[in-house]
Amino acid sequence: MTATTPAAYDPKPERLGEVQSYKAGAAILSGQVVAFAATGVDNTVHPAIETTGSLVGVALASASTGDMVPVAGNGSILTVYSAADNTTIDAGDWVSNSTVAGTVIVLVGDIATHETEGAGYFPLGRALADFASSKGEIEINMGPIWTAAS
């Protein structure tokens, strides 16, 4: 597979649910999935990877560090990038953050290890259609992760 190289794009919302403004803790590209830092900083988000904290949604605009950025949250229907150009994400799959900043992969539903903030894949939403090439449409539906008891 070829890893996606994040680039700004229009996520073309078909529907907007919750939309809130957050402060950019790093440069954010329009269309990237964003999350709190694992350490947690007030109202501040970063492009999501597997080592960030819980997800907030999808950036509706690009932003430089310190700028405010509007973020589409639960109930929104829009387009996101997959982590690989030729990945397979099918309609109905739940997707999560990935190791590639601001992109998604199919959510691994196993309750296997203590995945948590800083080492976790948080659910972002559900694919509404099969992903063609590197992008696809999802409905954002975020929630907490649950892990096996230690």
Partner: protein, 152 residues
């Protein structure tokens, strides 16, 4: 106020999502999280604790009359909340859950440890947007959902 002593306060919604009218099983103070009874009684809620049923959201006003209506800010709402003193602090981005102190929340333990359920459950109720110490009120995005349990 001591954060484990319930007192009414204005939850100052930044954003209102779903707002549901429920009925009070017991006195409810403005700003308290409310939950269904563990046995489940139609539309009746009480200040949320781990011995109750699933949470609904945050009471937008005080209701002292049993059976009286109370407006509850539910999913999608961003409201002020207290954290249970036992939990100390919460970081922005932490998922929160109902605590043992009526109407308060604590950082959610994500472990699937036992068959926690209604009447004995730590239900998730939201995502905190700001760092929060035990003696403060900070904003939480209400986000209720089911709990998951270990396979029996």
């Amino acid at each position: 106020m001591g954060n484990t002593t319930a007192a009414a306060f204005d939850p100052k919604p930044k954003y209102l999502g779903e707002v549901i009218t429920c009925l009070a099983t017991a006195e409810i103070l403005a700003g308290q999280w409310v939950s269904y009874d563990a046995t489940g009684v139609s539309r009746y809620v009480s200040p949320g604790t781990t011995s109750l049923g699933s949470p609904v959201g945050v009471a937008l006003h005080t209701q002292s009359t049993v059976g009286g209506p109370v407006a509850v800010a539910s999913n999608g709402s961003v409201v002020l909340s207290y954290v249970d003193q036992d939990d100390g602090t919460a970081d922005a981005g932490d998922y929160m859950a109902i605590s043992t102190v009526a109407g308060f929340v604590k950082v959610m333990d994500g472990a699937v440890a036992a068959h926690n359920s209604e009447g004995a459950g730590i239900f998730p109720c939201g995502q905190i947007l700001e760092d929060l110490a035990a003696t403060e009120k900070k904003y939480v995005r209400v986000l209720t959902g089911p709990i998951w349990t270990a396979q029996s």
